[in-house]
């Protein structure tokens, strides 16, 4: 199968002396039409991966090494300003917090149609028609009315639906969803998750699905990557990962996650010994990198 996105040995750090490492030779690939999960505890560097793909490394940080290939061409050495041809059309994004991600002073219509007009060269009226059908696709009732509203007039779940519609508006090749359900009510979470899965398969889009929750990832992903300390420790088909995890950390993580298939099992926190051990591995990596990039 062809890979739509490939990340090889990506190293990102804050450019201080010595550098603070955030991604430590991370590897990741996303096949065409796949949903690829990226799980790990908070601070593992998941958001960083998505930001590097989008070209939005935070201020002060930079890519030290490694490559990102998108559809076979290398994009990691393009800076942000030479990427717009990708952003918005080929690669889109579903944000974590729908409450703050929409522009408060613009009507929903304008926020949806701008990409359609910009990238599909639609006329404003046709763009609105397209927006209506997109909103029905994400199961918003009375889309014509919603298009006329401002974000503050919508609930969190509604806003996330709008954001999903925007993400799929131009039939992108890759959608990155960074914890798209974390900020939502539990009841809404399930619906949104189902919606994302449905949108992904009906559009045939590839997707990077980021979450700290193995349970969520297990439900919708084809392939799962487990991340810790800026490294991808393990990549497996979703079923295989749950039945036969290979990395000790994955095993520990699994026994710390509530299982829908085995309710009643006792949860075990990740042991201190394992944490210290993995800390050591990271430290030795940092030493090597320092010798390499900081002389």
């Amino acid at each position: 199968m062809k890979n739509i996105l490939e990340i090889r040995d990506l190293i990102v750090g804050i450019d201080s002396i010595p550098p603070t490492w955030i991604l430590r030779e991370a590897n990741l690939s996303i096949g065409e039409g796949q949903i690829v999960g990226l799980v790990g505890e908070s601070g593992a560097g998941k958001t960083m991966v998505s930001r590097v793909i989008l070209g939005f490394t935070p201020e002060g940080s930079r890519v030290f090494g490694g490559e990102i290939h998108f559809c076979g061409s290398k994009i990691s050495d393009l800076n942000r300003d030479s990427r717009p041809f990708l952003l918005g059309k080929e690669v889109t994004y579903i944000p974590q917090n729908p409450m703050t991600a929409l522009n408060p002073v613009q009507r929903i219509n304008d926020q949806m149609t701008d990409v359609l007009i910009r990238y599909l060269q639609l006329k404003p009226r046709d763009a609105t028609k397209r927006a209506v059908s997109l909103l029905s696709e994400v199961q918003i009732h009375d889309p014509e009315k919603v298009l006329k509203l401002y974000p503050h007039q919508l609930s969190g779940g509604m806003r996330q639906r709008v954001l999903i519609a925007i993400a799929f508006a131009c039939n992108p090749s890759l959608v990155i969803a960074d914890e798209p359900t974390t900020a939502l009510d539990v009841t809404v979470q399930k619906e949104i998750l189902g919606l994302i899965k449905r949108m992904q398969s009906s559009h045939g889009t590839s997707m990077l699905f980021i979450s700290h929750d193995l349970g969520v990832v297990s439900k919708i992903c084809d392939v799962v990557n487990v991340m810790y300390g800026g490294q991808v420790l393990e990549t497996q088909e979703a079923d295989a990962l749950f039945s036969a995890p290979s990395h000790v950390y994955t095993k520990a993580l699994l026994s710390a996650t509530p299982r829908y298939d085995r309710p009643g099992d006792l949860l075990e926190p990740v042991s201190d010994r394992l944490v210290t051990e993995m800390g050591k591995t990271i430290l030795s990596w940092d030493k090597r990198a320092e010798a390499c990039f900081y002389k």
Partner: protein
């Protein structure tokens, strides 16, 4: 809902204006000095003086004078100017258009400068451009409009004589306007030579008024802009593929204007007060110039009328600012 809010604001404005009227009226009368003494010709008899006092109502008790004045206002009569021997209302109406043109142009320039400077400062954050803009803003804000007038007059009126430094319109241009809104009338009658000359006369005074306002506006705007730039909707806009400049102007700016308007309403109103000295310095025939001569001549009815006019302009400016705030913030717009 918004209409009711506006009505409420208008109602609240009335006591403000009334207070100003009372304060001015009382102030002008509790202090020693007699306006009549300024206007009597040498050798006038006490009878003549008494006559004059009677004509201007200055022989009545203060409260009566005030009631008569208020009554006059209600009937649209502001009294007669002592020094110019003309109706105060007429004098003010004649001069008002000149001041309004100056005020509107200055505010426009100030807004333009402030928006450009803050957008540029955010766009070129952490570069030389930002530091240069910082310095300009600091200096523009530190120097009040009075000094800006003098500096501009010196540098661009005298040392480098680019602009005229007195008046409103070159008298050699034959222009017979129907209204006193020269500028608008010149535009509608396609007198481009007149438009050009008016602009040349307005250039120095309006920039002098605009600089300090622009500086304080851009301080606030820059703060709000850089705060807006860290919001999630900005990230989304960037991910949608907008360039940095587009993100600032199309997304951040409108959001940043909301807090800016709330924080700088007073500054706009203060620009109106600034016209007094600036008009005087450039001998610009507006209300401010009239006010200074009224003050120097101790022309009580005229001073009262002028202060009242300024107070009304203040209140209207504040209202307009509230209105634009509501227009720009969808949360306040009528649902």
């Amino acid at each position: 809902m918004f209409g009711r809010y506006l009505m409420l604001r208008l109602l609240l404005a009335i006591p403000t204006i009334f207070c100003v009227a009372v304060i001015v009226f009382v102030l002008m009368r509790i202090v020693p000095g007699d306006p009549i003494s300024m206007m009597i010709p040498p050798g006038a008899s006490p009878d003549d003086i008494e006559n004059l006092r009677e004509i201007y109502g200055l022989n009545k008790p203060v409260l009566d004078q005030f009631l008569i004045w208020l009554n006059g206002i209600a009937e649209g009569d502001l009294g007669r100017s002592i020094s110019l021997k003309l109706g105060v209302g007429q004098l003010i109406l004649n001069r008002l258009p000149a001041t309004l043109e100056l005020v509107i142009l200055s505010m426009g320039i100030a807004i333009f400068l402030a928006v450009t400077a803050s957008v540029a400062a955010i766009r070129y954050k952490d570069t030389l451009v930002e530091r240069v803009l910082d310095t300009f803003t600091g200096v523009a804000q530190a120097i009040p409009d009075f000094l800006w007038s003098l500096l501009l007059l010196l540098f661009f009126g005298v040392i480098l004589p680019l602009f005229p430094i007195t008046g409103r319109l070159d008298p050699s241009l034959s222009f017979d306007p129907i209204t006193n809104f020269y500028f608008f009338e010149a535009i509608f009658t396609f007198r481009l030579d007149v438009v050009w000359d008016l602009l040349a006369h307005l250039a120095l005074p309006s920039f002098a008024l605009a600089f300090p306002l622009a500086a304080s506006l851009s301080r606030v705007l820059r703060g709000s802009l850089s705060e807006a730039m860290s919001q999630d909707y900005i990230t989304l806009a960037q991910v949608k593929g907008y360039s940095r400049l587009e993100v600032i102007t199309k997304f951040a700016l409108r959001n940043a204007l909301i807090p800016t308007i709330t924080l700088s309403g007073v500054q706009f109103a203060f620009l109106i007060g600034g016209t007094v000295l600036v008009e005087y310095i450039f001998s610009y025939p507006g209300l401010g110039n009239l006010a200074i001569s009224a003050v120097v001549q101790r022309d009580l009815p005229l001073i009262q009328g002028l202060i009242l006019t300024f107070a009304v302009m203040f209140v209207i400016t504040n209202l307009l600012i509230d209105l634009s705030y509501a227009l720009i913030n969808p949360r306040l717009r009528g649902r």
